[in-house]
């Protein structure tokens, strides 16, 4: 208990909480509409609560909901969720050096709770893994604060959505606030020229490849953007006019 309290009081944990709180209206609206969608698809409240608490992944839940309602084969549902979640596999490669100092059970604990925005905010704040114990503790505290707020606001909103499913209108499009939250965080990442290139390439690739099944367009877009940015890194930053050789 005292150990958890020490984490809670850590300044980096508090900072993680505060920074995640800024995007919480978007998260909440998104969680709310996911809760509504689960019940409207015909799930029982118990199933919807179990799904929200255990699966804890908005996009894969939204992909699985119609498949469950249609009684699709189990492996199709799981494979769909896996593909929709493939971006997390990319994120886990990024997170690996930050977490490898932990024992497996704590890596699993932190990894499971690291959803899109916790990952993005974390890698935005810490560009390199810490090399000493104090730094590692700071990083973990920040990650924990963000993940904790993300998890709680998502779950509370989802429960509200499940409870009020039949009185919340779905045609208002409240879930769009979730997209705006991602937009705001995306804008805050656009700090270098190549990152803006990455955003532009990924956005266009995701639209162009939209017809791919299982939301694979997201993974294709990330791969295209990362590959192009790596190639552009090798170009000289500014073109200089060719030097004229001649007598001095």
């Amino acid at each position: 208990m005292a150990r958890w309290l020490a984490w809670w009081r850590h300044p980096e944990f508090q900072l993680g909480l505060r920074e995640m709180a800024a995007v919480s209206p978007g998260l909440a609206a998104w969680g709310l509409m996911t809760g509504v969608a689960m019940v409207k698809s015909g799930m029982s409240p118990l199933e919807a609560v179990a799904m929200s608490l255990m699966v804890f992944a908005g996009s894969s839940q939204l992909a699985a909901i119609p498949l469950i309602a249609a009684g699709a084969p189990v492996w199709v549902i799981w494979a769909t969720a896996f593909c929709v979640n493939l971006r997390f596999v990319v994120f886990s490669a990024h997170m690996r050096p930050y977490l490898m100092h932990l024992p497996l059970r704590w890596r699993l604990f932190n990894g499971y709770l690291t959803a899109d925005l916790s990952y993005v905010m974390f890698t935005k704040r810490f560009h390199h893994p810490a090399t000493d114990a104090v730094g590692q503790r700071n990083q973990l505290a920040y990650l924990g604060g963000g993940s904790f707020f993300n998890w709680s606001s998502w779950q509370i909103a989802s429960m509200l959505g499940i409870g009020l499913a039949h009185s919340i209108p779905t045609n208002w499009g409240l879930g769009f606030a979730g997209i705006l939250a991602l937009l705001g965080v995306g804008c805050s990442l656009a700090s270098t020229h190549l990152r803006r290139v990455s955003a532009g390439v990924a956005a266009m690739a995701a639209v162009a490849a939209f017809a791919l099944p299982f939301k694979l367009n997201i993974v294709v877009a990330i791969a295209a953007a990362v590959a192009l940015c790596l190639m552009l890194e090798h170009l000289p930053p500014t073109r200089q006019p060719p030097r004229v050789k001649g007598p001095a």
Partner: protein, 120 residues
């Protein structure tokens, strides 16, 4: 789940949900499930710094400019105006203070009247 069993709890659905939870765990922890010492090649590690913004914009743009898998053919779409207004707010504030919160609030302030009021 068959239609006559609407909103009834059944074991099949709970089993599917349990599997989906496992999918979340495995995908989010994929590259640190094993404790073997192993390192990503240097170029891949550098490349990953471009992944977060790529992932976000790859999720966002299709949600703004596509409907039912098709590019929208009209400008009269509340999402487009809301996105432009939200991003404009963010860059006008230069990302300072609660700029992300402001992006959400501004975007929704544009989105809701256009979408509910005008049906865009």
């Amino acid at each position: 789940m068959n239609p006559s069993a609407m909103n009834m709890t059944d074991g099949w659905t709970l089993g599917v949900i349990l599997g989906l939870a496992l999918v979340t765990l495995v995908t989010r922890c994929f590259f640190f499930l094993s404790s073997q010492p192993w390192q990503l090649p240097h170029w891949a590690q550098r490349g990953l710094q471009y992944a977060p913004i790529a992932a976000l914009s790859a999720v966002v743009l299709p949600e703004v400019v596509m409907t039912q898998g098709q590019l929208i053919t009209t400008w009269l779409d509340a999402r487009v105006f809301a996105t432009v207004a939200g991003a404009a707010y963010f860059f006008a504030r230069k990302g300072q203070g609660q700029a992300v919160l402001g992006t959400i609030v501004t975007g929704m302030a544009v989105y809701l009247p256009l979408h509910i009021g005008l049906g865009w």
